[in-house]
């Protein structure tokens, strides 16, 4: 029988990685990811998890050690946040383009400067194009469930790609939540052993990350792109199978009271939970509003987004990151490209909010929705608006 416990989400991730029976954890501690790897270090030290814990000297080394570990076929996990993710940057590309399955949780954090240890999605957006599969989660249960799913997706023979599971720093990483843990036998059933097909082994030498002259580089990149896009099928199947096994279903885009909604709000990450309570309130007042929650960030679910918003008149997108000098919110930018060619589409309004750990309260979301409706009717000279910034 699965058991429900109250636990800090970071600690719960450590427990999930233990249940997933990881072989190697290579990590460098950074706020607000620290409790995840701290807990894993003690699980390994106490003999509760039979894994190699590699305490490295930087995040660049953490990801590099993960490459080596995944290359020999070991089930590999790491976690990071903010500046740590940026320090890994170049190695993230290598992990994806060498097609190495590994799982990393990112406790999303704002980027310096000014220095902020608090949460937003700046770190995630900076690694958007690294070729990783990227999922966003909303609560502790989702993170734990998606750690299992992430290993299965990453290690699937049709995928063989690294997976990032994003969770909001502090707002999610440091809260204590009721979480249902599956039994070890259930996890073992859901998550078969890792079999990387071309492992580094002296008996059958291979060269990974080889040199590619112009005559072959484009082919290598296209192969990578085709593969990442195709991974979506496995992601959907994995979530289906997870739902059948554990009763909790996930999908790339989730709709909340979107039926007949004229106005839709679109969010990603844990703030979606606050947004849901606001939708409940407004629905209670008879307003035709709904919420679209984006869970799969890469590969981007273009069709699902089109389907989810096609009947609305106004779509208000809330981003927790800023693309300086660009279109404003990176999520909104993606949503706009998904809709550009559509004959029937809502007016899209972009807000950037919740930067550097600033809360968006229920009243805040209500104001965002109302302002969004106003902008969609009257128009605006600005590409986007930063919500709540003091003028």
């Amino acid at each position: 029988m699965a058991k429900k416990v109250g636990m800090e989400v970071s600690v719960a991730i450590g427990e999930a990685v233990k249940l997933a029976n990881a072989d190697v954890v290579a990590a460098y501690p950074i706020t607000p990811q620290t409790h995840i790897v701290e807990h894993l270090a003690s699980l390994v030290a106490d003999g509760e998890l039979d894994a190699a814990y590699i305490p490295v000297e930087s995040e660049h080394s953490a990801m590099s050690a993960c490459l080596g570990s995944a290359a020999v076929g070991a089930r590999t996990f790491t976690a990071t946040a903010g500046q740590g993710l940026e320090l890994m940057h170049e190695v993230l590309y290598v992990a994806a383009s060498m097609r190495l399955p590994l799982v990393m949780t990112v406790a999303n954090r704002a980027l310096s400067s000014p220095l902020s240890v608090w949460g937003d999605h700046s770190d995630a957006m900076a690694v958007r194009d690294t070729g990783w599969i990227q999922l966003f989660t909303e609560n502790g249960q989702e993170v734990v469930d998606n750690v299992f799913c992430a290993f299965r997706i990453a290690e699937d023979q049709k995928v063989l790609l690294p997976v990032m599971v994003h969770l909001d720093g502090f707002h999610l990483s440091h809260v204590i939540e009721p979480i249902v843990f599956p039994e070890q036998s259930e996890v073992d059933k859901f998550l078969p052993p890792n079999h990387y097909p071309l492992v580094l082994h002296p008996d059958k030498p291979v060269t990974m990350g080889d040199f590619a002259p112009p005559i072959i580089y484009s082919e290598a990149k296209w192969a990578q792109e085709v593969n990442l896009r195709a991974s979506k099928e496995v992601i959907l199947q994995t979530w289906q199978d997870f739902g059948k096994a554990f009763g909790r279903y996930y999908s790339p885009v989730e709709s909340y009271h979107t039926e007949d909604a004229k106005v839709l709000l679109l969010t990603m990450g844990s703030f979606s939970e606050t947004a849901m309570t606001v939708i409940d309130k407004l629905r209670g007042e008879g307003r035709e509003v709904g919420l679209v929650r984006l869970r799969l960030w890469r590969p981007f679910p273009f069709n699902e987004i089109r389907q989810a918003v096609k009947n609305a008149e106004t779509l208000v997108v809330v981003d927790r990151a800023l693309s300086f000098g660009g279109p404003g919110g990176p999520v909104c930018s993606e949503v706009k490209s998904a809709l550009y060619g559509e004959a029937k589409k809502p007016k899209v309004v972009s807000f950037v909010a919740g930067l550097g750990g600033r809360d968006i309260t229920p009243a805040g979301f209500e104001e965002i929705i109302n302002k969004g409706i106003e902008i969609s009717q009257k128009g605006s000279d600005n590409e986007f608006e930063i919500f709540g910034v003091r003028e």
Binding site: S97, M98, R99, L100, L160, P197, L198, K204, P205, V206, T207, M208, G209, D210, F211, A212, P213, I215, I216, E219, A220, W222, A223, Q224, V226, N227
Partner: protein, 97 residues
């Protein structure tokens, strides 16, 4: 590799463009971008092997007469061998297509 690189499609590549054939770097023609090539006046050669030791490409081998000579498939035309040869055996000349 079964096909020459220029004929491989993206579908021919192993996952992650992993190379499964050991020593395949030997097929890579580093002599491609050479703009000068070494020429030899072997009459002056004392077979000291200095050129072989200094060649950064490791492409100088002894020929049938045991003189040290560059393998032009790999020689990049850097001229180091010509510079180091004490008896001035080697002269770099323009590579003309």
């Amino acid at each position: 590799m079964t096909k020459p690189e220029g004929e491989l499609t993206w579908k021919d590549l192993e996952i992650g463009a992993i190379v499964t054939e050991p020593g395949s770097a030997a097929q890579y023609k580093t002599g491609d971008w050479r703009s000068q090539r070494p020429t030899y006046d072997f009459a002056k050669c004392i077979k000291c092997a200095l050129c072989q030791i200094f060649c950064p490409e490791g492409c100088i081998h002894q020929n049938a007469d045991e003189y040290f000579e560059a393998d032009l498939f790999y020689c990049k035309g850097c001229g180091i061998c010509a510079k180091e040869c004490l008896t001035k055996v080697i002269t770099m000349v323009e590579e003309e297509e």
